[in-house]
């Protein structure tokens, strides 16, 4: 073994680097799948929770909606209100066998992380929808859009943009918190780290590598998400369409001055 710290880190990496990177791959994969499915669940729940009810709606529809919202609320509160590690044990060792399911460890990991992220995202999406100015809804209604249409084309695109930072936050949390799933034996980065550190009795060196790998993963994801946000914002400038490119040229007003400004 080399005597200097850096040398020892390199030595650990040579022996266990591949296995740890594989673990990192697993962590990343679980986090990405969990965040993606979690977002889908979150949007579905958030959208249902913001369906408006009107007084004149028939009682069956109102009652049904009330019940569905109640169940979804219970889901959100329960999964936000209990630790994921306990949920993982409860579901993997308890609920799944009881129900006769026999999923792989990886599938269970996807499931647990998705359903957890979904519970958090549901509240984020609901907040995102409520934060959109009611004028947007009224503008959409005024041209005859139905609730579904105005959600799809007007509200959700704006809500999605506004909650992008929260989605990024969730992804980063998931990359880190996927390590909790090592309790059901998922071979992610922390699981592999423990194995390496235990075999070599070199905690400091091994965990140095682990910290770096986690940080590289989260930092890269956070940059990619920021880039996506910027893309969604579109350009800061717009081109004035010159009259030449238009099919009709007989505008009622002409604004030669503004056109010359070119911005």
């Amino acid at each position: 073994m080399p005597t200097d710290f850096l040398g020892r880190v390199m030595a650990v990496f040579e022996r266990y680097g591949m296995s740890m990177l594989q673990g990192a791959g697993v962590s990343l994969q679980i986090a990405l799948v969990g965040t993606l499915i979690g977002c889908i669940i979150g949007f579905a729940v958030g959208i249902v929770q913001t369906i408006p009810t009107q007084q004149k709606d028939n009682p069956v529809k109102k009652g049904g909606l009330w019940l569905v919202k109640l169940i979804l609320n219970a889901y959100v509160e329960f999964f936000r209100g209990t630790p994921m590690m306990a949920q993982a044990m409860f579901i993997y060792y308890g609920l799944f066998p009881l129900m006769g399911f026999n999923p792989s460890m990886r599938q269970s990991a996807y499931f647990i992380l998705s359903i957890n992220t979904g519970a958090y995202m549901a509240e984020t999406v609901r907040g995102g929808i409520l934060s959109i100015d009611s004028g947007q809804t009224e503008g959409a209604k005024a041209i005859g859009m139905t609730h579904v249409q105005l959600m799809l084309y007007v509200i959700l695109p704006q809500a999605l943009r506004n909650i992008m930072p929260q989605i990024g936050n969730n992804l980063i949390i998931n990359i880190k918190d996927s390590c909790v799933l090592s309790v059901i034996g998922v071979a992610e980065l922390l699981y592999k780290t423990k194995a390496a550190a235990g075999a070599l009795y070199m905690n400091f060196e091994t965990y140095t590598i682990t910290m770096i790998v986690y940080f590289v993963m989260t930092f890269t994801c956070s940059r990619i998400l920021r880039w996506m946000e910027n893309r969604m914002d579109g350009s800061d400038n717009y081109d004035l369409a010159t009259t030449d490119t238009l099919a009709h040229t007989s505008g009622m007003y002409k604004y030669p001055d503004e056109k010359k400004e070119g911005k």
């Binding site: 005024a142 005859g144 084309y153």
Partner: protein, 248 residues
């Protein structure tokens, strides 16, 4: 549609928010080509009336007949009705996630199910009419208030509605931008588009309207031709309201 039927007819309409009664027993009619201006003091219920007509508020009692069909009835397709009776808001309410052109196309493609080419051609026609054709690629946040309102008018026109409702379309604008929006609306009035306009611009109301409704405290206090209302108002409240405007 019946020959003598009104396009829109409001009958005994009342609206209360909780115990707060805002509109009481409102009656009025609109025929094709009418330009009806609704004037009145702040809080008199003008916006609420307009919002009831477009079903953005549900009337407490009364009827709103569109071609003699009560649109407050159960089971009426309200979105379809709204696509025939457009509305322009004080705060523009342009879709922030879309460009000027998309704002004017989305209703046509999604609600009227027109093809994109046709919708674009139509949108361009109305954007040119309001002088906003050069700005088709701009987002709402990139244009001025007056420009936003002209786009909002184009968006409403692109649906080719039968009636257009305006709720104080110039109240949120700087004085120099008011003119550009009013100019567009004057053109529409000349072209015979049926409009109901809530406004505080008295000179404009006097010029363009075929009918003026004066509201006070949730009721129609007086109505008539612009000459009658502005020239020789009969009710004391009308006289008082208008005198404040003349004195500025």
């Amino acid at each position: 549609m019946a020959e003598n039927g009104h396009v829109l007819e409001v009958r005994h309409l009342s609206k209360a928010f909780g115990k707060h009664v805002v509109l009481r027993d409102i009656d009025f009619q609109v025929d094709t080509g009418d330009v009806t201006c609704i004037i009145g003091a702040s809080g008199s219920g003008k916006s609420t009336l307009l919002r009831c007509i477009n079903m953005l508020e549900t009337p407490t009692t009364g009827e709103i007949l569109y071609h003699e069909k009560d649109i407050t009835d159960h089971g009426v397709n309200v979105p379809a009705y709204r696509s025939r009776v457009g509305m322009v808001f004080q705060s523009f309410n342009l879709f922030n996630n879309m460009t000027v052109l998309e704002n004017c196309m989305v209703g046509q493609t999604k609600v009227l199910k027109k093809g994109r080419d046709e919708a674009k051609k139509n949108a361009m026609r109305y954007l040119e009419k309001v002088g906003m054709a050069p700005y088709i690629n701009a987002k709402p946040r990139q244009i001025s208030g007056g420009q936003k309102q002209r786009v909002a008018i184009a968006r409403a026109l692109a649906m080719e509605p039968e009636v257009l409702l305006f709720d104080e379309p110039t109240s949120a604008l700087d004085p120099q931008m008011v003119g550009e929006v009013l100019a567009v609306m004057r053109t529409l009035a000349r072209e015979g588009i049926t409009m109901i306009i809530v406004t505080h611009e008295m000179a404009f109301a006097r010029d363009v309207s075929s009918h003026v409704v004066f509201m006070a405290d949730g009721v129609i206090e007086e109505e008539g031709s612009p000459e009658e209302i502005f020239g020789s108002p009969k009710k004391a409240k009308t006289q008082e309201f208008l005198s404040r405007f003349i004195q500025g």
